[in-house]
C-alpha cells in the first residue's frame, strides 16, 4: 500500500504566503471566492435560491487574545459531513503549483485551498455549514498546526449555507479590522452579481458600469468617465468599449489625459468572473497601447497560480491582439468623425501611435496625414511636406536639425526633424503606404556636396590659404572645404556624420587598447565606413571672404581655428580637450594681434 507524506500545514502556509501570494490581504478575496463558488453551485441546481454574502467584523477592543474577529456567511450550497472530512482534512495535499492552479472550474477541490489562505492571518479557523443536499449542520475547527475536529454545530440551521470565522493573530491584526475588510471586500467584490455587505453596508455595485443602461450616449459617456476617475484617479480623455467573446471579456479602456511613459505598462484592473484578479495586471494590451488603462471582466482567461496575474497563453495573446485592434479601430474612427479629439489625443500620445504605425498601415496613413512634424518649412504633416519636397531629407537628431534646417532649406533641400523616438523608423516605413515616397536621412556629408562650389578663380586664389587651414585643422581630425552658399550670414558650418564619429571612436579605441584588442579592432576597421568631419567655409560670407585673402598665413590659420571653434559651438557639438585648446589658442592669438594694432606678430 502507498503511504502519504505527512504534510506540515504551518510549512505549507508559510510556503504559500511567501511564494504564492504577494500579501496576506488575499485572504479576503479567497473567502469571498469560496462564498461565490458556493452560491454559484447552489443556483445551478436551484435557480431561485437566495444569493447574498454577509461579512461581519468585530474589532478587537480590549480582548487580550489578539486581533479582530471576521466571519463570512453565504447562502450557498454548503457541505455535508462527508465532504467536510474529505475536503478540509486534505488541505495541503496538492503539492504542485499547477494543482494549486486555482482554475476553480471545479468547486469542491478549490474550497480547501481558498480556506487555507485564512491561515495567513489566523491560527484557528471555524467553518459552520449546512448542505443543501440535507444532513445536519456541521462545525469544523482547524488550527494552523494541522489538527482539526468535526462536530455537530451548537444550533441546527434552517437554511443551507456556510459561515467561515477567523480570529486574527496579533501580528496580523491590521488585516482584520472593519475598515480594512470593507476596503478589501469592495476592492475584490464590487462587481459580484449579488449583494455583499460588510457590517451591514453594501460594497457591491449593480453590475459592471459599462453594461448598465443610460438615457443617452452622452450620459453614458459621462458616467463611464466618472467611473474611470474612481478606478484610476484621472478623468479619462475618452472611454473605449471593449469586447472579446472568445475570452468572455467585456470592459472599457480609459485613455490617459496626460502623456504616459511607454515603459510603464500594465496597471489594468482585471476581473475574472466578476472577482478582481488584479489592479495592476500586465499583458492585457499590446505594448504600444501604453496610453490606455482598462477595466475588464472575463470568464475564460486563466489566472496564474497565485491568482494575482493573467497566465500568458494563446487565449491571452488572442485577447491582446483583439483589444489592440479595437483601440486601433477607435483611433481610425476618431480620425474620420472627430478630428479635433484626435488632435488632442495625438498631442498627448503620439509616441504610442507612432509605435503602432511601425507595424500597421492604417495607422501609418493616419500619422502621415494627421500628425505634424517639425520641418524646415514650419510644422506640417509628412503628407503635406512630401507634396512640397518630394526629395526631402530628415535628420535623426534635434541638434542636427536646428543647425542644418536653414542651410539645407536655402539649398532647396527640405528637412524634417526626425530626432524624436520612432520618427526615423516612421519615415523609413513610408514607402509601405506610398511607394513613391522617398524621404532619406540627411547625411551631413551629402549636404556638403549640395553646397555650391566657390567661383573657380576665387578657389584657386585661396589655395595657399586653404593649405594653411588644412594644416591647422588636420591635428583635430577635420578637413576644410570652401563653398558658396546661403545664408550668407553664416561663415562656417561643421558637418560630421555618425560614420565619421564611429570611425574616430574605433581608431581611438584601437590606440587605447592592448595588442590583442588593437588587432581585433584593426580587423574590424574595414567594416566601419571611413569618414571625416569637415569645416565648410562660406565664401559668400564677407568675413570668410576677407580671411581667405589675408597675406599673413599664420594669422589666417588662427582665424580658421576660431571659425572652427565657433562652428562647433553653433552646432552644439561637444568640445574635446584638443578643440578647447584650439579655441583658446585662436582667441589669444587674435587678441594679441588686435592689441598690437593689427601689425602682425613677430
Amino acid at each position: 500500500m502507498d503511504n502519504a507524506f505527512q504534510v506540515d500545514l504551518r510549512g505549507v502556509v508559510d510556503l504559500l504566503s511567501r511564494h504564492l501570494y504577494s500579501s496576506p490581504r488575499v485572504y479576503v478575496r479567497e473567502l469571498l471566492q469560496n462564498a461565490t463558488d458556493a452560491i454559484t453551485a447552489r443556483r445551478a441546481a436551484e435557480p431561485g435560491a437566495p444569493a447574498a454574502v454577509t461579512v461581519t467584523v468585530t474589532d478587537p477592543g480590549g480582548d487580550a487574545r489578539g486581533g479582530g474577529l471576521v466571519s463570512v456567511s453565504d447562502t450557498g450550497i454548503g457541505l455535508t459531513e462527508h465532504e467536510v472530512h474529505v475536503l478540509l482534512a486534505t488541505i495541503g495535499r496538492s503539492s504542485k503549483r499547477d494543482e494549486l492552479g486555482f482554475s476553480r472550474h471545479e468547486f469542491l477541490g478549490q474550497f480547501g485551498i481558498g480556506l487555507l489562505s485564512g491561515f495567513l492571518v489566523a491560527d484557528e479557523i471555524t467553518v459552520e455549514t449546512r448542505s443543501a443536499r440535507g444532513g445536519p449542520t456541521i462545525r469544523w475547527t482547524g488550527t494552523s498546526d494541522g489538527r482539526y475536529r468535526v462536530e455537530p454545530a451548537a444550533t441546527e440551521w434552517a437554511e443551507p449555507g456556510t459561515t467561515v470565522t477567523l480570529r486574527a493573530r496579533p501580528d496580523a491584526a491590521e488585516w482584520v479590522t472593519g475598515r480594512t475588510v470593507t476596503e478589501l471586500a469592495r476592492l475584490y467584490g464590487a462587481l459580484l452579481p449579488f449583494e455583499v455587505t460588510v457590517n451591514g453596508r453594501g460594497v457591491t455595485l449593480d453590475g459592471p458600469p459599462w453594461l448598465a443602461g443610460h438615457a443617452s450616449p452622452a450620459a453614458r459617456r459621462s458616467a463611464l468617465r466618472a467611473y474611470g476617475e474612481e478606478q484610476f484617479g484621472f478623468v479619462p480623455l475618452d472611454v473605449v468599449d471593449l469586447a472579446v467573446p472568445e475570452a468572455g471579456l467585456t470592459g472599457v479602456a480609459c485613455i490617459l489625459p496626460a502623456p504616459a511613459n511607454p515603459a510603464v505598462r500594465g496597471a489594468h484592473r482585471v476581473y475574472l468572473k466578476r472577482m478582481l484578479l488584479s489592479d495592476s495586471a500586465d499583458g492585457l494590451l499590446p505594448d504600444w497601447a501604453f496610453f490606455a488603462r482598462c477595466v475588464v471582466d472575463a470568464t475564460e482567461l486563466r489566472p496564474t497560480a497565485g491568482r494575482e496575474a493573467l497566465y500568458d497563453d494563446d487565449l491571452l495573446a488572442h485577447t491582446r491582439d483583439e483589444l489592440g485592434r479595437q483601440l486601433r479601430d477607435w483611433l481610425v474612427r476618431l480620425a474620420e468623425t472627430e478630428p479635433e479629439r484626435l488632435r488632442a489625443f495625438l498631442a498627448l500620445h503620439h509616441l504610442g501611435v507612432k509605435a503602432l504605425a511601425l507595424h500597421d498601415d492604417d495607422l501609418l496613413r493616419l500619422v502621415d496625414r494627421r500628425l505634424e512634424f517639425e520641418t524646415s518649412a514650419g510644422p506640417m504633416t509628412l503628407a503635406a511636406f512630401r507634396a512640397v519636397h518630394p526629395q526631402g531629407r530628415y535628420t535623426t537628431s534635434v541638434d542636427e536639425f536646428r543647425q542644418l534646417a536653414a542651410v539645407s532649406a536655402a539649398q532647396g533641400v527640405g528637412l524634417v526633424n526626425a530626432g524624436y523616438v520612432h520618427d526615423a523608423e516612421i519615415l523609413a516605413a513610408l514607402p509601405r503606404i506610398d511607394p513613391a515616397a522617398r524621404l532619406d536621412r540627411l547625411d551631413p556629408g551629402e549636404l556638403a556636396t549640395r553646397l555650391g562650389p566657390a567661383d573657380p578663380d576665387a578657389e584657386l586664389r585661396a589655395r595657399p590659404f586653404l593649405a594653411a587651414a588644412a594644416r591647422a585643422l588636420d591635428p583635430l581630425g577635420c578637413q576644410v572645404v570652401l563653398r558658396d552658399f546661403d545664408p550668407a550670414a553664416l561663415p562656417a558650418l561643421y558637418l560630421t556624420s555618425r560614420a565619421a564619429r564611429h570611425h574616430a571612436e574605433l581608431r581611438d579605441a584601437r590606440d587605447a587598447g592592448d595588442e590583442l584588442w588593437a588587432d581585433v579592432l584593426g580587423a574590424l576597421e574595414r567594416s566601419v565606413a571611413a569618414d571625416r568631419p569637415s569645416l565648410v567655409l562660406n565664401h559668400r560670407n564677407p568675413l570668410v571672404w576677407r580671411v581667405t585673402g589675408l597675406p599673413d598665413l599664420s594669422l589666417a590659420a588662427t582665424a580658421v581655428e576660431a571659425l572652427y571653434g565657433m562652428a562647433l559651438l553653433h552646432g552644439h557639438h561637444p568640445l574635446r580637450p584638443a578643440d578647447t585648446a584650439a579655441l583658446n589658442r585662436s582667441f589669444l592669438g587674435l587678441l594679441d594681434w588686435a592689441v598690437q594694432g593689427g601689425h602682425g606678430r613677430d
Partner: protein
C-alpha cells in the same frame, strides 16, 4: 555645456526607449557630453549603456569600440569602476565573444586569445567560470570541433551557476542548442521544458529559447510545441534587427512545415532589415531561411511571384539565387578564417533539407 545631471537624465531617458536607433543616438550624445565634462565615472557608465544599446540595437560592430575603451580604462585604473560597473563590463565580454565569432574578418588566433582573456578576467573576478565554459562551448560549435564541444558542454553543464551566468532561460536555451548539436535532441527538450513554460526576466526571452527549440521540436515530432513556439516567439522578435538570425529560423520553420505563404509574408516584411545586417553571422541564417521559403514557393508552383526589394519587384528565382549566393559567400569567409569546411558543409545540408511530409497547421483551429 551640458551638466552632469543632464547626462544622467539622458542615460535614464534612454532606459525608457526600446532598443534601436533612437536609443542609440541618445546614448551617443550622452557619451559625447560625458567626455566633454571629463567625468570618468559618467564616461564609464555612458560607454556601458551605449555598448548595450549597440548590442541589442543591431549594431554590434560598434560595441567593440566602446567596450574596449572601457576595458582599457579598467586596466589603467581598476578603482575607477564601481563594483556593479565591473560586473557590467565582464557581462558585456560575453556579447563581445559572441560577436567575435560572428565577424569572419577577425582572425581565429585573436578570437582564441580573446577567449583566454575572458577566462583570465573571470577567474580574477572570483573564479566565475560558468559563462566561460558556455563561451568555449559556443566556440567549439562554431569551429565544428565535436570533441571540444562535448568536453566544454560537460564542464558547463556541471558547473554551478554564478554571478555572471546568463539568465536561466538564455542559459538553458543555449545548452539545449548545444545538446541538439551533440545529437541529444530528447535531452534538449527535457532540459528546456520547465523553462519554456515559466516566467522570464530578460529582454531576449522567451523568444530566444523558443526560437532555439524550433528545429528541435520539429526533429523530435512535436509539431504543436513547434507551432506554439513559432507563434509566440515571432510576435516578440518581429522587426527586431538584432534578431535577424532568429528571424531566419522562423523563415526556415515556415518553409519546412508547408507554411510558405506565411513565410513569404514574413520575408517581405523583414527583408529590409537585411540591408543593414548586424554581422555576417546574423545575415547568413536569414539568407538561408529566405532561400528555403523561396525554394518551396518555386516547388509548389509559385515561382512566378515577386518580392519587393529596394523599390524593385524581384522575381522569386532571382531573389533565391541572391540569398543562396550571399549565404555561401559568408560560409566561405568563415571557413577561410577557421581553416575548415564546416560552415560550407552545414550550409549545403541546410539548403538541401527536405520539407516535412505533412504540412503543419499553424493555428490550433486550422487543421
Amino acid at each position: 555645456m551640458t551638466e552632469a545631471y543632464q547626462v544622467y537624465r539622458m542615460l535614464a531617458d534612454a532606459w525608457d526607449l526600446p532598443y534601436g536607433e533612437a536609443r542609440t543616438v541618445l546614448l551617443e550624445g550622452a557619451l559625447r557630453a560625458a567626455e566633454d565634462l571629463r567625468d570618468p565615472k559618467l564616461v564609464i557608465q555612458a560607454r556601458l549603456d551605449l555598448t548595450r544599446a549597440y548590442q541589442h540595437g543591431g549594431e554590434p560592430v560598434k560595441a567593440f569600440a566602446t567596450f574596449t575603451r572601457n576595458l582599457a580604462a579598467y586596466d589603467a585604473e581598476p578603482g575607477s569602476f564601481e563594483e556593479r560597473q565591473v560586473r557590467g563590463l565582464l557581462w558585456q565580454f560575453k556579447w563581445i565573444m559572441g560577436s567575435i565569432r560572428r565577424f569572419p574578418e577577425i582572425p581565429l588566433r585573436r578570437a582564441l586569445d580573446a577567449l583566454d582573456d575572458m577566462e583570465r578576467r573571470y577567474r580574477q573576478a572570483g573564479g566565475l567560470l560558468h559563462a566561460v565554459y558556455a563561451a568555449r562551448c559556443g566556440m567549439a560549435r562554431h569551429l565544428g570541433d565535436d570533441e571540444g564541444l562535448a568536453e566544454w558542454f560537460h564542464r558547463w553543464h556541471v558547473q554551478p551557476r554564478d554571478d555572471l551566468s546568463d539568465c536561466q532561460a538564455c542559459d538553458i536555451g543555449a545548452r539545449a542548442s548545444a545538446l541538439a548539436c551533440l545529437g541529444r535532441d530528447e535531452e534538449a527538450v527535457a532540459l528546456a521544458a520547465p523553462v519554456v513554460s515559466g516566467t522570464f526576466t530578460c529582454s531576449s526571452q522567451p523568444q530566444g529559447i523558443l526560437t532555439a527549440m524550433l528545429p528541435i521540436y520539429l526533429r523530435t515530432s512535436r509539431p504543436e510545441e513547434a507551432a506554439e513556439a513559432h507563434r509566440k516567439a515571432y510576435r516578440l522578435c518581429q522587426g527586431d534587427l538584432a534578431s535577424l538570425d532568429d528571424l531566419g529560423e522562423h523563415l526556415a520553420f515556415c518553409a519546412r512545415t508547408g507554411n510558405e505563404a506565411r513565410g513569404l509574408e514574413i520575408l517581405q516584411r523583414e527583408l529590409p532589415l537585411l540591408d543593414r545586417p548586424p554581422s555576417p553571422g546574423h545575415a547568413q541564417p536569414f539568407m538561408v531561411g529566405a532561400a528555403l521559403v523561396l525554394r518551396r514557393l518555386e516547388e509548389t508552383g509559385h515561382g512566378g511571384l515577386t518580392v519587393l526589394r529596394g523599390g524593385r519587384e524581384v522575381p522569386v528565382p532571382e531573389l533565391r539565387a541572391a540569398m543562396e549566393a550571399g549565404a555561401r559567400e559568408i560560409a566561405a569567409r568563415f571557413d577561410a578564417r577557421n581553416g575548415t569546411d564546416v560552415h560550407t558543409r552545414r550550409l549545403e545540408a541546410d539548403l538541401a533539407a527536405p520539407p516535412m511530409t505533412r504540412p503543419l497547421p499553424l493555428l490550433p483551429g486550422d487543421a
